[in-house]
Amino acid sequence: MDKIDLSRRAFIRTAVAAGGGMVLGFNIPATRDAAAATVQPELWKPPAGGVEVNAWLTIDADGVVTIRVPHTEMGQGGMTSVAQLVAEELDVPWEKVRAVLADANRHVTRGNEYKDMSTGGSNLVRNRHPHIMQAGASARERLREAAARKWGVDRAQVTAKQGVLTAGANRGTYGEFATAAAQIALPQEPKIKAYGDWWLLGKDVPRMDVAPKVNGSAIYPIDVRVPGMVYAAVRACPVPGGRLKSFDFAAVKARPGVIAAIELKQSKANLGNSDMRSAIAVVADSFYRAKVALDLMPIEWDLGPGAQNSYAAMDAQARDLMDKEAKHAEEVRGDPRPLLASPGGKVVTGSYARPYETHAPMSPPAAVANVTAERVDVWSFTQNVAATLLLAADQAGRSPKDVFVHGTFQGGAFGQGNAVDITRQAVELSKQLGKPVKVIWTREEDTAQARSRPPIWARFQAVLGADGLPTAMLSRAVGETFNPAYADRGIANMPYNVPHFRYERHVVPTNIPVGPNRAPGNNANGFTIEQYVDELALAGGWDPLEWRIKMTEGNERWQRVLLKLKEVSGFTTKLPRGQGMGIAVVESHGSTVGVCATVEVTRRGQLSVEKILVVTNSGYVINPRAANEQVYGCVAWELSHTLQGGLDLREGRFRNTNFDGYKLTRMADMPPVESVYAMSQDGWWGGFGETAGPPTPPAIANAIFFATGKRIRSTPILQHNLSWA
């Protein structure tokens, strides 16, 4: 890929502007002092000196373009992506581009002016680029029209390039024409540029949000300080579904700094994603004092029936169910059962399981709310400031027009920011106390209360034809009650051309609410079907890579990935014992991603993942460098849950709620990752933020099989004995 001429030494800098609005871009002097963390609530306003050409951008007299980003920056590079998409159309030098977070209140009160502020599902670039690019294109055409009118020429004669408008001998800057452009109505909005006409998209652009993240000045919800603020530590029932019975505030009331204990009542019997659970909060003048008092305060819970639940019980029930036909069934390509039952057929069976996992964003969730007579101000853990605004309005009992949700960076979110009740907790506490309140969940509280990634069980059966390829296949998956459909992803819609294919799904009951977690469904299911495919291929005498190529004939996006894997991976099943390569391919969030893992396993069973190669087909890529960073991150994410991870559910609660028991990948465990692209460029766009994860676990497990002869049917893998003789 080409590199645009951006001096990487011209470090991006940042300023924390008055009011806490962070402006990111090139060459803005860095400021860094403790006061920066104290933000004064104030109405959003455009940066001084800038003219608003449309809701998405302002241009100042010096030609600096400030782009408003409706989406959350949680480490995925969304601020840079939006700025890049707008700048492509506007045609403005990258050094002149700034990014700020857009105002949720404006969006909500002006009829969803930014269309959609949600951030998730790897949607930002793949599904939102048309309207984001349109904002830039529409501004550019207004600038051209303004210049055309002034110069008395036709708009078609005016060129807009790199911040400069020209027509013959006439020349002017975007800054000079911004005010006039803002007044212009066009009879018809311009079309956005097609692939091939890009000058900035497709090029490596350094992320804009790096500078404040190397000197401690980046502000996350946990860092926000408002004058007069008090701190709350909260605890919901440790067994999800249970309720608070009683608490003895008198026992801790006299402790230093302690202000109050407040019960947070569960809002309804069946909780939605962001509804408030039964919980107790202790409020003090510092978080540590609140936390210690909460730890010491006697609390009684009505644990409810969830206290009988355990992973062992769910696992036993799921394995039992997989022997039985399920009501939820879909015959995708005709009924395979007669063929599976016919005598003499070679039937191959494989079953697999994944446990509960959690997001564990490095920042435990935090929220600040200030409910006053006039207005409500919120800084919170979220992936959608507009949705959070409506939640806060609902909890405060106020009109959305009086609610202001302020953008901050997020210290990781991974889907959890779409399904969390901490905003309601903070608003409720502030409303009751009449003061600004900061709520922080401890790591233990986060693991206990996050909407977890669900477990899955899956069993596959297929019968082989004379050529060793399957003629009929039955998939039977088991999901859980809160979101059973996660169990379907990648299994019900598997791409392999088996002539007869039926999918069934069972459900086991649980008390643990679940929610989205980086590539939900696919993140667990890839491990099941992509190992089974290897078993099936080997049973029929096929090379696993050749089997996949054969079984996806006619599927251009898969073929492109598989053929690229064949070209670059050096995949072979012929390595000496103790070494193995494994491949797997998963399609999720619109992208098809193949992984080749190389492992070594000592005779005594010590596993070392030597290399991960990732081949992505997302159709297009706008910023290869930032996309690679997401690939590396996705691999690390799934490496955590493949090798270690695994939440231990007993008596209705997780027992390993901190990093001493919930082990995640660290530097020493991280293999080299190579990211390669195999883009179809066929008009279809896939996502990048979560798609390299799902094929990683099965590729590693398949590699372990070739190294040891052992088929690993559940995670965490490091709990299995991998020794071989």
Partner: protein
């Protein structure tokens, strides 16, 4: 109880219980929020600071034990992001969400202090004290090697 702490070359009088973890004194009492809370049990390294030049997890040190010591936080590592580790972090665009990066940078700076030209093995050992959920480990490794070069030049 009144304690005197020396942070980034400035003396701070703080009124806290002596057993309060240094992390919360830095964040809530002194207002230096660059040092982060991640686990509270010395597992994740988000709260890494330097005490008398050594990398220490500030959630695991009580305020009283830090009296009389020289405490450096990310805010005090350099006045203008010019420490070789910060420069390398910028150059290699290491952070994603960024939340763990103050701790990562403090660990890396302490590593380079004692091993100016670290091997991958030394990097693995030192940096495995710090968790990163975004998975920036590969960029961290590259950036530490780059910072070592910057430090030598």
């Amino acid at each position: 109880m009144n304690l005197t702490l020396s942070v980034n070359g400035t003396s701070h009088q703080v009124d806290v219980e002596p057993e309060t973890p240094l992390l919360w004194v830095l964040r809530d009492t002194i207002g230096l929020t660059g040092t982060k809370y991640g686990c509270g049990i010395a597992q994740c390294g988000a709260c890494m600071v330097h005490i008398d030049g050594q990398a220490v997890k500030s959630c695991n040190v009580n305020a009283a034990a830090a009296v009389g010591k020289r405490i450096t936080t990310i805010e005090g590592l350099s006045p203008d992001s010019s420490h070789p580790v910060q420069k390398a972090w910028l150059e290699h665009t290491v952070p994603q969400c960024g939340y763990c990066q103050s701790g990562q940078i403090m660990s890396a700076a302490a590593l380079l202090q004692r091993a100016p030209n670290p091997t991958d093995r030394q990097i693995d050992d030192a940096m495995s004290e710090n968790l990163c959920r975004c998975g920036t480990y590969l960029q961290i490794r590259e950036a530490i090697h780059a910072a070592a070069k910057l430090g030598r030049s």
